[in-house]
Amino acid sequence: MTTAEPIEREMASRRAIVEALIFAADEPLPADRIAGIVEEMTPALVDDIVAELNAGYLREGRAFRIVSVAGGFRMLTRPEHALWIKLLHRSSRPRLSQAALETLSIIAYRQPVARTELEGIRGVNVDGVLKTLVERDLVRIAGRGEGLGRPLLYATTERFLEYFGLPDLEALPRPEEVELAPPDEPPQEELFDGEAGAGGPEP
């Protein structure tokens, strides 16, 4: 506004554009989408600008920050203000049931995965849970398997990542190293039908 060098002004204005886009979006905004509409912007530069913005928010004691979630950036309040905001919103968001969490865990690691495999691992029928997870957009149908009756295969969605605050599937929580079989025995593949889930991160 005053005597700033043109370059600095340019930087400040690009920073404000990135900030405006993330602020205004109602879903996580990928760096490449920002880079796609702002001239001379690259995803790496977007990352730098976000880091700079976050440093500024911290310095100024802002109530929010930019978080990397579900493959994009989202501006969210800091957790320490949760109590006040919950007073504001009155109704609280319902949490997932144990059945839903267990089913989601298996889908996340075994995706794409058929219903029969989910039921084999959980030992219970999962029809109802699956249907609701699809309706809630935490799980999607990702195709059909090769086997008999070409069963539907299930996978997690972007909404799943956002719901759990995960930047991507790689960031899934790791289970404690539990050996699936005693060391002297062959690994588990043998115990399951071949159809099982390829793809996705290994547990």
């Binding site: 957790p79 949760a82 865990s105 996340a108 219970v124 309706e135 957009d137 605050g165 289970p175 588990q188």
Partner: protein
């Protein structure tokens, strides 16, 4: 943990609620502090059946899964009682419990992940985005408020189910006698036009009227348009359609 261990037989599970048979098995293994690779199958089976007996009628809809597991346990128990054949050279003797152990460990592993997801869910419930963002986007003209949120496969399925159900219900209506003729509807439309010179297309379809009547109205309008008695006009692309009386028409 307790100094005076009442003994594994005393594990009481009646009052507890389990997600499924594996949940119960994991609980029993932990509660009895037994080695999962060397499960005392007779003991665990006995406790498992004890729980099954205690299940109230309100849990019956999930009982099938428990019964299936009970059958597996009993089968393993029976096989454990068989005299073991002398191990032939180069041939592993399969422990009847092996598959069960793998199931328990695998389930346990996913349950740990579920616990971690639960923690993450709790952490996420403490952060909030701008609840106002969608409104602002609409105000800025960056999104159409008429349009819904991003549709998912679940929405698509639900929409289809709803629309087919609705259509099935209408089909029942269609079996009822129509009770109105095209001539009736032509008179009705003319009556409207005589008063106002034009009318909104939508208003000709009387709310609450059976859909079969709408079809008759529609056919009547087509007929009148073909005869040059009326003209249909749409304001803008998605705007309201209006029906105009052709002025030069000499209504006979």
């Amino acid at each position: 943990m307790a100094d005076v261990d009442p003994g594994p037989h005393r594990v009481r599970v009646e009052a507890l609620d389990f997600e499924g048979p594996l949940d119960l098995l994991v609980y029993l293994v932990q509660k009895n502090e037994v080695d999962v690779y060397d499960i005392p199958i007779a003991l665990i089976t006995a406790q498992f059946l004890e729980y099954l007996e205690s299940m109230g009628p309100e849990r019956l809809e999930g009982a099938g899964d428990f019964l299936l597991m009970a059958a597996t346990l009993l089968r393993i128990k029976a096989r454990m009682l068989l005299p073991r054949p002398e191990p032939v050279e180069d041939e592993e003797v399969e422990d009847p419990r092996r598959e069960l152990v793998t199931m328990i460990l695998e389930y346990q592993q996913f349950r740990e992940i579920a616990d971690q997801l639960k923690d993450r869910e709790a952490a996420q419930s403490a952060v909030f985005g701008r609840a106002d963002a969608a409104t602002e986007l609409a105000e800025l003209g960056a999104s159409d408020p008429e349009e819904g949120r991003r549709a998912t496969l679940g929405d698509l399925l639900k929409a289809f189910a709803a629309v087919m159900e609705e259509a099935a219900r209408d089909r029942v209506h269609r079996l009822e006698p129509v009770g109105v003729t095209i001539e009736d509807k032509v008179r009705f439309v003319r009556g409207r036009l005589r008063r106002e010179g034009r009318t909104s297309f939508r208003e000709l379809f009387v709310a609450g009227e059976p859909r079969s009547h709408w079809i008759v109205t529609f056919v009547a309008l087509l007929e009148m348009a073909r005869e040059g008695e009326i003209r249909l006009r749409q304001g803008d692309r998605f705007g309201e359609i209006h029906v105009y009386a052709e002025e030069l028409r000499d209504d006979g």
